[in-house]
Symmetry: C2
Subunit: 350 residues, 2 copies
């Protein structure tokens, strides 16, 4: 059983002995110091490769270098119910990719109840090389300290413009295009009267989505009727009441596009309760492509955000940012339309 006893990871010292050099030299090779001759460097590197050696992350971080770990700040929000699997997938994609890059991620859940956690303190203690924030909404004071610190931070799926960071990286979806795709699709089906079930109005996703929505309507020469635009946040409840409000108008749209699948589900409920059918009376396009879309009646046509991809991008971005120290920036990921059963073709009556 070399499994039990001999199970001891190789150390710098082992490599040094194999190569017939000092520990110092091996370390220098690894850290790309210049004062190593080409021949020694090659010799050492050969052995490192042969033994597939990788410096101990714990020791490495203790001596002030990379810990090869990324902090992940998670948030649990009862309101997001339907959305949690979204985060799970992002997180999985992130973790998996990080693993490939030889990083691990350590998660810091939000406190949720009780005293708030000091993210910065936790990150410093764990010596993480960078931080990824998911589903945070900037209401925590402790978040700001983190964002203002020297630690590279990556904000995912941000909600809110006023992020506190000076050095934040953003990963977001192209909500503008998402809205465009929804409108394009509905227009192609013959819809000319289209409403919007929005999320938290002043947030980045909601606003860019709304902008895309209005842009397309204008482009097609359709009227933007403010009474067909409703909604407070991204929850199912909000969708329900928003739809109800719209249904009280003297004339109602033939289709609505939603800013989340949860609102779409709420809209569905409002329609049913009003004795209307989807897509018979009103067509609906959701947003997010969470699991439930497939199980609603009718199954929801929606805009997919590839969560595993997002996770992978997040990993690549934060690592690059750590290694290259690149400047803060924002990355926008494409979204795609997933057609299911919640939209119907309309006879020309524009």
């Amino acid at each position: 059983m070399d499994n039990l006893s001999a199970r001891r990871a190789k150390t710098l010292k082992d490599i040094a002995e194999l190569a017939g050099v000092s520990v110092t030299t091996v370390s220098k090779v690894i850290n790309n110091y210049s004062d190593v001759s080409d021949s020694t460097r090659a010799k050492v590197q050969a052995i490192i490769h042969k033994e597939s050696f990788c410096p101990d992350p714990v020791a490495s971080s203790l001596s002030g270098k990379a810990s090869y770990s990324i902090g992940v700040i998670l948030r649990y929000n009862p309101v997001w119910g339907l959305h949690h699997s979204f985060f799970y997938k992002v997180m999985f994609g992130l973790g998996r990719r990080l693993g490939q890059l030889n990083y691990d991620c350590v998660v810091f859940p939000d406190a949720w109840l009780g005293e708030p956690v000091d993210y910065l303190e936790k990150c410093v203690r764990r010596r993480v090389d960078g931080v990824v924030l998911m589903g945070v909404d900037f209401d925590s004071p402790n978040l700001e300290a983190l964002a203002q610190s020297d630690l590279p931070c990556l904000f995912i799926d941000i909600v809110g413009d006023n992020y506190p960071g000076k050095n934040g990286y953003f990963l977001a979806w192209d909500h503008y295009q998402g809205a465009c795709q929804a409108v394009d699709y509905l227009y192609a089906l013959g819809h000319r009267q289209i409403g919007l079930l929005g999320g938290l109005p002043n947030t980045y996703p909601a606003r860019s989505h709304r902008d895309g929505f209005k842009q397309r309507l204008s482009q097609y020469g359709l009227a933007i009727r403010e009474e067909w635009i409703a909604g407070d946040d991204f929850t199912e409840e909000s969708g329900y009441y928003a739809m109800k409000t719209i249904l009280q108008q003297s004339s109602i749209p033939t289709a609505v596009v939603c800013q989340s699948d949860a609102t779409a589900v709420g809209a569905l409920r409002a329609l049913e309760q009003a004795g209307l059918s989807c897509p018979g009376d009103v067509s609906i396009v959701g947003y997010d492509d969470i699991e439930v879309c497939r199980y609603t009646h009718p199954a929801l046509t929606t805009i997919r955000q590839d969560t595993l991809l997002l996770g992978r991008m997040a990993a690549d971005t934060i690592i690059e940012c750590i290694r290259e120290g690149c400047a803060p920036r924002e990355q926008i990921l494409p979204v795609s339309l997933i057609v299911r059963d919640s939209c119907r073709r309309i006879e020309s009556n524009a």
Copy 2:
């Protein structure tokens, strides 16, 4: 800004100076060594408390002691779609509780694609103090090495009897009682003809659930009709086909209890397709209380498993196991019935 520069965590040395003793002594106080006088101990402890000092986990683990970190092995399974938020919540509950106990968790996602990860190696390198496994199904050879190692392992929501560990802890739900509650409820509503939509037959959850189901039926003097028992696994597809199979029988049950909400959703689809209504023709009790239950038509009556509680218990258990080194054992958590709209009262016709 003591934020920036003075932002350096206290070290043993700082405490030692404040207390006027040596670093060694402080360390001994922390690690409960006996060769410290009561008075010094008290003095040092006072300062530790005052400064709310906690030894650096990285340094501590490097010198062979606790790393104050727990490894979490996550699995992403496309088949579990609807179930992912379940894991998210468990994980959140786990992480939050661990945080309270001053532990952090580092996650190791399953490889999913590409070469499998060597869990044991990862855990050893990260020097985690224990491991929690969620949603694994023991098909990975590398899992076995972990379970056979000296690392305390905790298996959550296990699927399968033949877990490979010699020192595993289990945290599971009381599926037996879950089934009983479902049957009791249906019986009280007047149902006398009850079927079962099962999951993977030879797994622990499925079998204990089935046992409870049959026990209750017998207890009430109801016939156990094998042709009303169907299902291959816990997916929506399985539920769909299982329900279809049952509907093909000459007589059909007035109610079915399911071993997962996903199967219940599938059953709902099969019913609708057959032109039958729920709960009009067939009542359904789900299992798990995942988010979708609230959004199906009708909303699903189901058996709730408190995921946040599970996470918390997992944290407490693994920590206790690490600290006290207690013997492997199995903990069974209670479940509870959540009544919604998928069951109806039946007039007496037994």
